[in-house]
Structures are given as structure tokens and as C-alpha cells.
Amino acid sequence: MTEYTIFWGCLISTKFLNIEKASRMVFNELGIKLNESKGFSCCPEPVVSKVADRNLWLTLAARNLSLIEEKKQKLMVICNGCYESLYDAKHELKREPELKQKINENLNAIGRTFQGTAQVLNFLEVLVKDIGIENLKEHVKKPLNKLKVAMHYGCHLYTAEDPSKTWDLARYFDDIVRATGADIIPYGCERLCCGYPLSQYNYNYALENRTYNKLKIISKCGANCIVVTCPACYYQLDFEQKTIEKKFGEKLGIPVIHLMELLAMAFDLPGTDELLKMHRTKATPLLELIGGYNGGTKSG
């Protein structure tokens, strides 16, 4: 059985339990063992702390990575924000040896050292490169052929040290969605930010000019739902959608599904309906759309 150390991040493990639950269900189905590592702190999150203090951001990220280096296991990160933080910190410290030395001086105070050997993987990389698209297709028990989805990639997905690989994770995302049988509907502003980072600075502006704009365009493209890979995008598009409906007096009602939930739907895993009930914008009608829910009965 392949094993990974898992980094859930604060948002998923405390707020969006449907994403954690779906991930556990899907990886269990795929025969992947997820190990918890003791002592992880915040990644730290890349919107506020990275801007507030680079030294602190790198020190805490290096501490988290040093915990993995001790275990010598691949790190799979479910949250895209955490992935960007840990990935960027690792590569920035590798690029700047003097900085690495300075950060290690900080870590030495607690008896730790950052070497830069930890393998930081986005969960999309694990699904495509380690598990494989063909393998995923074999697990699809209920092809989502009737489902038309609008892709929301999210800014953190374009994190890559090698510029030629900038689009890799986004392509993996497309490939996985296609493997479920769902139809990707282009709508023209896929790259437009969900508004979450901007909302940390100007909430109302972000809500009107990013989130609302994006949702309006998607509502007219014919998609049944939005698929995301980032918990912050999920929050902004799902939870804030209700706020937008109230504020602007427009009923949108677009379900927002995390990729792991989409896989749980396609694998027809028991408990998938419970995941969709945790959404703020009603998502359970999607189960009827895909031809009912077998509650995990493997209908083949």
C-alpha cells in the first residue's frame, strides 16, 4: 500500500470537513494510506503572514518541512494555499543558501534543521502521476456523463519552480475531471480570481468585482456546477454565494463541488450525499442529475 504524509491545512480540518472526508474516502478507495504527522503548525498561510513577515513565513514553513524530512515520506498537500506556501518556501530556501542558513539559525533554537529534501506534492500530482488517470477511470462506477462543469482553477494552482510546468497542475485538474466523464464547459474567465485574497483587504470590492462577476458569467454558461481544488475558492464561491444573493437580490444557486467530492460521486462511494449536504449552496440536486445515488452500492 502506497503511503503519504498528509497536510490538511487549517481551513479543511476545522471548517470544510466535507473536503477532508471526501479525500479520506477517495484515497481509501484508491488504496492509498494517509499518515498524520505530529506537530504541524499553520503552513503558514500565504495571504497574510507571507506579506506581514517573510522571515516568520519561511521559518514556520521550514519547521513544517523539517518534520517531514525526519520521516522521509512524501508529503501530499490537499490545500492549494498550503501547497503554495510549503512549495515556495522550500524552493526559495534552496535558491538562497544564505537565507537558508539564517532560517536554520532560527530552527536550531528548537533543535531542528531544514535540509530541503522533503518532497512536497499537490494532491493532483499524486492522483495523476502516482495513481494514474487510467487507474482513476477503473474506479469510476457512476460516470458523470450528464454533468456539465465549470472549472475554477484558483491562483495557487499555477505554482511551479520550472516555468514550463506552470500549467501542469491545471492540466491534471482537467484530466481528472474528464476521467469522471463530466463535460467541461468553457466560460471565458476561468483564470479570474474567486476574490478570496482580495477580500482580506477589501471585502465588499472583492465580493462585487470578483466573486459576483465570476458567478454571473458561470450562471449563463450552461454548467450545472463549479468544480474547485482550493478550500479558499470553495469558501468564496459556495459560502459567499448566499451573501451575494442576499446583497444583490439575484438568485444564483450554482453548486460548488470540490474535486475530491466529484471523485467520490463518480466512485459512487457511501456517504457522498452526506458530503454534499454540508454545502451552503444546495448541492444535493446534483446527485439526481447524475442518475441517482446508490448510497455506495456498486452498481457497476
Partner: protein, 220 residues
């Protein structure tokens, strides 16, 4: 007394108080000294007949930056120290250096900073009818963290996570058949201690104005 003599004198008498020396440009230096040592340093210079030019006060939000500017034979040497606003007082220099008398009164009028032991602490620059306790150059007690980020920063320092693993989260996790707790730093005291030690080591707690006793930022 020339600059080199001043540095030698301060290093000899107040070594433990000196935090650093910066050359700003030719014949312009700033010496950072811990608060209790700053007045001692100013007194030492006064005793050696180094001329006090003036004292500047800057309101940084959480603290006052006080600069005692001295003229050392054409070189301007500033003794700099910081007074946290929750302390809001420092020893007066006026009894040793009469030239500091009016300057300290002016700083008090404008910023509300108290100079203990001042021989004549009357109002000097504001009109008589100006309301008591209103200091025109005093800013609200706020640090660098914008209002909307204060909770995130405060929780990050206090719990190791910007979104804390609360008892409510633990209950919710149990309700949906997830392991109620994860072995994260916010739920493990030994690991949280490591994280907080690093926060102190990087000086982030001081930068944002975190009060370890209260467990939150000094401002809301």
C-alpha cells in the same frame, strides 16, 4: 568630546544597554539604547558637557520613539530609545540638563508622554483652554496589523493556526465520523511551544504587538 570618545564612554559605562550603532551619513549617528540606559547615557553625555540639541518624539502606534540629539563637536549623535504606550513614562532629564525642561513639557503636551521627576511639569505649548488629556499628535494605540487581519495574526501566534482547532471544530469532526483531533501543534503543547519560540525568535510578536500575558494583540 568627539564621537569616538562618546562611543568609548558609553561602551565602558553602559555596555549591557547598548543595542546597536548606525551611521546614517557623514557625522550623523544613531545609538540604540535600552530604555533604562538611555537616560543614563544622556546624563553621562551631559556631565561631559556634550550639548543637547533637542529631543524628538515619534508616535509609532504601539510605542514612542524618543531621540536625544547631541552635538559632539560637529557630529550629531542621537541616543534612541522606545517607550511602550502601556508604560507611557520615562525619567526626566530636566534636573540634570535644564535645556531639556521645555522640550519635555512640549512632548508631554503633544503626545501625553510623562517625564518622571520633572521639576515643573506645566503646560507649555497648547492653549490654556485646550481639553485636558487630549494630545494632538498622539495616535490611537495600534500596531502594524490592519483591522481585518488582527484575528488571523493573533490566533496564529496564540494557537499556531490562523483558524484555531476549537472544541466546536472537534465536536463537528466527531459528528461526521472524522478523527476528532489531529496531532497538530495547536492541540499539542510541546509542539506549540516550538512554534511560539520561533515566533519570538523572529521578533514577529514584537513587530505586531502581541501581548503574551493576555494571549492577544495589544490592540483590537
Amino acid at each position: 568630546m568627539i564621537f569616538d570618545d562618546i562611543v568609548r564612554l558609553l561602551e565602558q559605562e553602559l555596555k549591557d544597554y547598548i543595542l546597536g550603532l548606525q551611521k546614517m551619513r557623514t557625522r550623523r549617528y544613531i545609538i540604540d539604547i535600552k530604555r533604562p540606559g538611555a537616560i543614563k547615557a544622556a546624563k553621562l553625555l551631559a556631565e561631559k558637557d556634550v550639548r543637547l540639541i533637542t529631543i524628538s518624539c515619534v508616535d509609532n502606534g504601539l510605542d514612542f520613539e524618543l531621540l536625544y540629539h547631541f552635538d559632539a563637536d560637529g557630529t550629531i549623535v542621537s541616543i534612541r530609545t522606545f517607550v511602550p504606550k502601556d508604560i507611557n513614562e520615562i525619567e526626566s532629564l530636566a534636573s540634570v540638563l535644564p535645556g531639556a525642561n521645555w522640550i519635555e513639557r512640549e512632548i508631554h503636551d503633544l503626545f501625553g508622554l510623562k517625564f518622571n521627576g520633572h521639576p515643573d511639569f506645566r503646560r507649555i505649548i497648547l492653549p490654556y483652554e485646550w481639553p485636558e488629556g487630549n494630545y494632538p499628535l498622539r495616535k490611537p494605540m495600534e500596531g502594524i496589523v490592519p483591522k481585518q487581519h488582527r484575528k488571523v495574526v493573533s490566533d496564529l501566534i496564540a494557537t499556531g493556526q490562523p483558524i484555531p482547532f476549537t472544541s466546536m471544530a472537534i465536536k463537528r469532526r466527531a459528528r461526521v465520523d472524522l478523527p476528532p483531533e489531529l496531532p497538530v501543534a495547536s492541540l499539542r503543547e510541546d509542539y506549540l511551544k516550538e512554534v511560539q519560540e520561533l515566533i519570538k525568535k523572529t521578533g514577529f510578536d514584537k513587530k505586531v504587538g502581541f501581548d503574551w500575558e493576555k494571549g492577544g494583540l495589544k490592540y483590537r
